[in-house]
């Protein structure tokens, strides 16, 4: 099924012409932002240098840090009165990245979600439970409005209270659910304990965290759904920028809204189709926060063949990160942020290890800390207080729950050269 057959199946010269005209608009529009004007000047290019799609290679890359440094509104290309909503990105130390939307941006975003949901077989007959965080996180409202757009009955169940979520599925006859894959596994376990059947469920949409084909099998068998991968990021409106179709072989990045390149993350050189590299995105219709060659950090490749579903070429599912970013419970975290937070606590010495594990399908973070010798008072209560302080600092700065273990002096590994304080032990999850 198609929501917008014309745009979903546009191909060949028609697609290229559309992309080129929209690319030209985006590049001109970006010049309303001071840091893009500066970047273009530094790179010695002007918007008029874009004459073909390949000319995009002349343009400088945009990095997440630049968007964050523009806090709060320095990355906005329209007058503030045209901005009708802002969200912020998760899990950054200090200031978050503000992402903003005009009314047209919100309509575009809903359009993308409507296409995604229709592509996987949802209609106005469906009851759709949106079990992701509402609020500043983009997952909640994005899918909410897309679900309403196709006329589905949307339940904004958000996160938490798993038993209630399961009762809702059974009581309301929910047919489709959107959540993180790890929360999906948690739902399965609680439902099995409760003896809930979840018979009505037929479709599961999973995003915000990487998940493996093994996890797909488990989710499909135990939750009784057909599982679909959802890809996106706040900078690209939010989730739903690219989505799996019923072929389950790659993600359809909506080509009339986004221009994709795959580059070698080391050299910045564009790679031929089929080769794995970092995904670089230039959105083609974003108004409030335009992006020029945005470095997503996600590793994928362009599958050269057209998809049998008729929507053209696809991206392979994301297979890793070009940097050391971790995704923990759907929150993006750089090891340096965890280190920065720990080093700011005087009682914590410079010796600590952070372990990320997947326990019962949920991400768990454990921090082992050798405390400062000078800070040891001999009182048990002070030690317990330090545990709470460390956990509280991580919660406050990164919104992550952690277990803090105090360990003996000298018991943690010492590093020669570059220290590796953060170890991801979740194994094969990409």
């Amino acid at each position: 099924m198609f929501w917008n057959r014309e745009m979903e199946t546009i191909s060949g010269e028609d697609l290229e012409a559309l992309q080129l005209s929209r690319l030209k608009w985006t590049v001109h529009h970006s010049q309303n932002v001071e840091f893009y004007r500066r970047k273009f000047r530094d790179a010695g290019v002007t918007p008029d240098d874009i004459k073909t799609l390949d000319d995009v290679e002349k343009l400088p890359f945009t990095y997440k840090k630049e968007l964050r440094d523009a806090y709060p509104f320095g990355n906005i290309a329209v007058p503030m009165k045209q901005v009708v909503r802002i969200h912020t990105t998760s899990g950054t130390t200090g200031k978050p990245t503000v992402v903003s939307y005009t009314r047209q941006d919100l309509d575009n975003w809903s359009e993308l979600i409507a296409r995604n949901l229709t592509m996987i077989g949802l209609t106005d007959e469906d009851v759709f439970q949106n079990a992701v965080n509402y609020g500043l996180f983009t997952g909640g409202l994005g899918f909410h409005y897309g679900g309403e757009k196709i006329g589905a009955t949307v339940i904004p169940s958000a996160t938490g209270n798993t038993k209630r979520q399961i009762e809702m599925i059974d009581d309301f006859g929910v047919t489709a659910i959107h959540c993180t894959p790890s929360y999906g596994m948690h739902l399965v376990e609680v439902a099995e304990e409760m003896g809930a059947s979840l018979d009505s469920l037929r479709i599961g949409i999973f995003g915000a965290e990487p998940w493996s084909e093994n996890m797909r099998k488990e989710l499909e068998t135990r939750l009784g759904v057909e599982a679909f991968d959802s890809y996106g990021m706040s900078e690209m409106y939010g989730p739903g920028a690219a989505f799996e179709c019923p072929e389950h072989d790659g993600l359809h990045l909506w080509h009339d809204f986004y221009f994709a390149e795959i580059i070698d993350p080391e050299t910045g050189e564009r790679l031929p189709d089929g080769e794995k590299g970092e995904l670089v995105i230039t959105p083609l219709v974003k108004e409030a926060m335009p992006l020029v060659r945005y470095r997503t950090g996600d590793i994928t490749r362009i599958i050269p063949d057209d998809c049998p579903c008729g929507r053209g070429r696809r991206l392979a599912r994301i297979s890793g990160r070009a940097d050391d970013m971790l995704v923990i419970r759907g929150i993006n975290v750089f090891p340096s942020q965890i280190e920065h937070t720990l080093l700011s606590i005087p009682e914590v010495g410079d010796q600590f290890m952070v372990y990320v594990d997947r326990i019962n399908h949920l991400d768990e973070m454990t921090i082992e800390v050798e405390m400062n010798r000078e800070s040891f008072s001999g009182e048990l209560a002070d030690l317990a207080g330090l545990q709470r302080k460390v956990a509280g600092a991580i919660k406050e700065s990164l919104n992550l729950r952690t277990t803090v273990k105090l360990v003996a002096l000298g018991s943690l590994p010492r590093f020669e050269g570059k220290a590796r304080h953060v170890v991801d032990r979740r194994g094969e999850i990409w």
């Binding site: 405390m371 010798r373 040891f376 008072s377 001999g378 009182e379 048990l380 030690l383 317990a384 545990q387 273990k405 105090l406 360990v407 003996a408 002096l409 000298g410 018991s411």
Partner: protein, 144 residues
């Protein structure tokens, strides 16, 4: 201050809660010739604090610090108890009447009678109150 003579230096040692830690502490103290008069282990979430009264606290501190332990001193007081039924009650009643709040405590019973080791919040004030209520405190010179 007269109360100073009742303040006894307890050593508190951080220890992870795993096999062999106490043995490592005891072995080091043996090799240094430090005698342990009383001790207890307090356990929390994955770690513990070993508390000990020793005859040579400074030597114990240096010895354990040198092999990598985190050690600190804490002032405690020692109350004499009769080593017979009712001995603890008698002391506990005095402490209660004196309004002393105990943070933690451990006890031993030796040839010269029984002793209750106390860690109290306001130690010097605690000493005065216990003496005023009729308790007998042991002089630090008996230990260290």
């Amino acid at each position: 201050m007269a109360e100073k003579k009742y303040l006894i230096k307890q050593i508190s040692i951080f220890s992870e809660n795993k096999p062999g830690r106490l043995a490592a502490i005891a072995k080091a103290l043996q090799e240094a010739g430090v005698n342990i008069l009383a001790f207890s282990i307090a356990e929390a979430n994955g770690f513990g604090v070993v508390r000990a009264l020793v005859n040579k606290p400074d030597l114990a501190h240096t010895t354990l610090t040198d092999i990598g332990f985190m050690v600190s001193f804490t002032d405690v007081i020692a109350v004499a108890m009769r080593d017979e039924p009712g001995g603890l009650f008698e002391i506990a009643r005095i402490l209660g009447e004196a309004g002393i709040n105990i943070e933690y405590s451990y006890a031993y019973s030796g040839k010269d009678g029984a002793v209750l080791i106390l860690r109290v919040d306001q130690v010097e004030e605690g000493v005065e109150k216990i003496l005023a209520a009729g308790g007998t405190l042991l002089d630090v010179s008996l230990f260290q």
